[in-house]
Amino acid sequence: MATITRRRLLQAGLGAGAGLALWELYKVTWKSPQVRDQAALAIYRNTGLDDAGLSKLLETALEKGGKYADIFVEHSMGTSMDFDGAKLERAAVESVSGAGIRVVGEGGAGFCATRDVSWEGLVRAARSAGASASGGGSTRVPALVPLRAGDLYPVGTSPGDPFHEKQEIIRRMSEAAKKADSGVTSVRANYRDAMRFVTVAASNGVIAHDTQPILQVGISVSVGEENTSKTGHGSLTVGGHYGFEYFDARSPESIGERAARMARHQVEAVGAPSGELPVVLGPAYSGVLLHEAVGHGLEADFNLRGYSAYSNRLGQSVCSKLCTIYDDGRRSNLNGSMNFDDEGVPSSSTLLIDQGRLAGYLHSRETAWKMGVQPTGNGRRQNFSFPPLPRMTNTYLQNGDSSPEDIIRSVNHGVYARFFSGGSVNITTGDFTFVPTEAFLIESGRLTAPLSNVLLLGNGPEILSRVSMVGNDMQISDNLWACGKQGQMVPVTIGTPTLKIDSMTVGGNWHT
């Protein structure tokens, strides 16, 4: 492991704005946990800011009134590559920085984002954010105290340089996909590593610095069959807050083979039945059901305003007693995990549904104040140019007692769905749809024909009340999911054991 001295770190950090030193810092940050711990602080100081300056900015934001202000300073950078097989088609370099300042008061909330992180630019942004504020008390901001929130992103092996190590991962993944199926017509892959350096300071005296490493590998495989001219496509993107140790537990070959299998499934698949049918959802990816059917409806802003199908129902039975659901932002390395949220609140594990009863909502600071509870560390934003909203992190359903085999055996005629490409929900009615990319017909307790063009439609509270069996095989999806809300995308993770839903609307090609 490279030894990085504090002096070298400071040299890299202080030179960050001066050309290549920034990329030197990027490389050493991947290599050393000690550097990573200090890197966001170095970037923050490199902008010319210090704690006294941030306090002054917060006081400036509050000078017309307001109860609370925060400032979010971000610098993100990374490299990415697109491959055709193992051949590099495109290399890209990204680097974005800016700040968002928010004021919350009785007369409303103000937010101003700027790419100009000079002192003058930040003062302008602070005044603009606070322009419509009123109410509140003293504008004196207490001394900022650093938040220590642990390290949820331990990196074992730096992806760093050299280039050929990255290309080798892609080559192994692509070759495995081609070997897995003789009908593969194209394999495209992409690789990205990035680092997000974040500083959050709030008028309640919190300051937090975080360095978030990001590793992403994606593959897209096409399979064709000459006789029938049928084609299939399989794709997935895996990774999270990892280094190259990610591939110790999940070989590149296994990722390539899985994508090829997904593509082959579409070639072999036949038309799906339509109508009300029992549906068995496989482990891991089916967590998209929780995300759409439950998770969004439990974000506190919708409940505060009475929009959600779950508004004013705390303590009530909202689904089958077999369901216990958590949102947990503190699971190491996962895509949705954060040491602290984008408001400087440590992330947490929040019990949402306890054996069928509604136990809690997901809160930002603002919704927590308004509802008189503690924030849960779910205030998130896509980047500095957006204000934070209550969002999910890693949402999963706890294990039950049934074996997955018994669950499938219990269905005479139905649908089994294993992989999904996404979904959507109407928060207010709870109606949702989600789209399986790999599904099978269940006949007499056995998986038979692979199915294509299946769409599942349901109502969140209704469908979860029809969960009659929960498996003992809970898995977290390794796919990198991105969740959209009010124009902002944030990374999330989902997980679930195998589930049986007694009846659900299935849209396919033929009516049963």
């Binding site: 050309g19 290399a91 937010f111 038309g271 339509s274 928060i427 769409l455 299935v506």
Partner: protein
Amino acid sequence: MKPMTTEDLARMAVETCRQRGAAQADALVIDRREKAVQVFNHESPLVAESDTTRLTLRLFSRRRGAIVTGNGNTEKAIESMVGQAMGLIGRASRDKFLGLADPGQLGAVSDDLGLYDEALAQISLGEMRQIVASIPPAIGARDAKAAALASSSFQVQVQEITVATSEGYSRSYRTSAGTLSANLVLGAATTDEGEEGGPEGKLTGGANLSHRALGGLKVDRLADLAVGRLSEKVGAQPAASGSFPVVFAPTASRSLAGILLQFCSGPVAMYMQGSYFGKLGETICSRTISLVDDPLRVGGLKSQPFDHEGVVPRRKVIIRDGVFSEFLLNAYYARVLDRESTGNAISNEDIRLGVAPSNAYIDAGSAPPESIIADLRQGFYVTRLISRVMRVGANFTQAATGRWIEGGKLSHAVRAAIISAPLKEMFKNVVACGNDLNHEAALAAPTMLVSKMSISPLT
């Protein structure tokens, strides 16, 4: 000191690429100022402003390419990123189709496309708050219950878009756009009556209204749209199950235009040697369908004097009376297909750039929508497609809401149902297009009747 303009930034970035060894380069700079006022449920407003710049640089060297994206805060930051990119470019494979757009196609439309309105660009937050405050009363005047839970917003976006190349091309244009929104929840009070909305008796509806000019953002028009969309959901019952004719209202048929466009673009053409539906010159769908892309419409939400490579765009008929007549192309895919760019390049962080329609629409037919419905004994009138994930494969399978058609008239609302048909068959079975095309959205289509689709209701 004179502040750096977006053209200065683009030219400086391109020059940096040349100095660092790139043979050619182009830069796209999008400088964006946004303002928004949002009010939820009569709470105090959220007022947001942002000022961001997005720089996308493409570097080419010996038919190899690399991309740099960022906000280009400083010259040193750009130099640093370009240095990194030049370190990677030598490892990329050669692609003979890569490079700048044909210089002969570069330029800018000289006519005023009505893209910028000073009154909208300069509107103050105070004026925006007043306009937002006028939305709930306008809705209340139409439906008292809906106004009680209205959320409303007004967003304004002002952009300056610049393209510069290492061959000396450099052009900019300004745009303004405003969007008024109202999202309604008609509420829990109807629970006991049992038939309105979902299990909690709630209904949602909403509408957006976008325009390039302040004068086009009419609160009354927004209120009509929002309340109309809410009222069409009252009294929802399940749809019938089976095969029925499906009428797509303009709010839903525009998605059908989107599917056709997706399959008539350069990337698909390259990989499929033609469209999914067939080759150029072939009849690929019903003769009732003509599909047009018009980047030159005055005030159009996606009109532009040049595309993201600097190519001057033109109006084109992509499908004429069911016959596939033209692809949408950028410079890269045009070279692959040995054709000319159609001026549809869009930056998407791919070295080849993406291809996207501008103001695209399925042309109007002659039938009034009422007469299309009047000819049907039973059917599903789809007003909204609710699956956000568009699955476009061999089948069109989507969840939809709308009204049931009984005896040639609209009857009860349908809460949700899945509609499905083989994709090619569905477009061949479009038997009528209405005369009700409007261009309020950038993607538009009239009422369209598909003679038969499979329907699976949410019960």
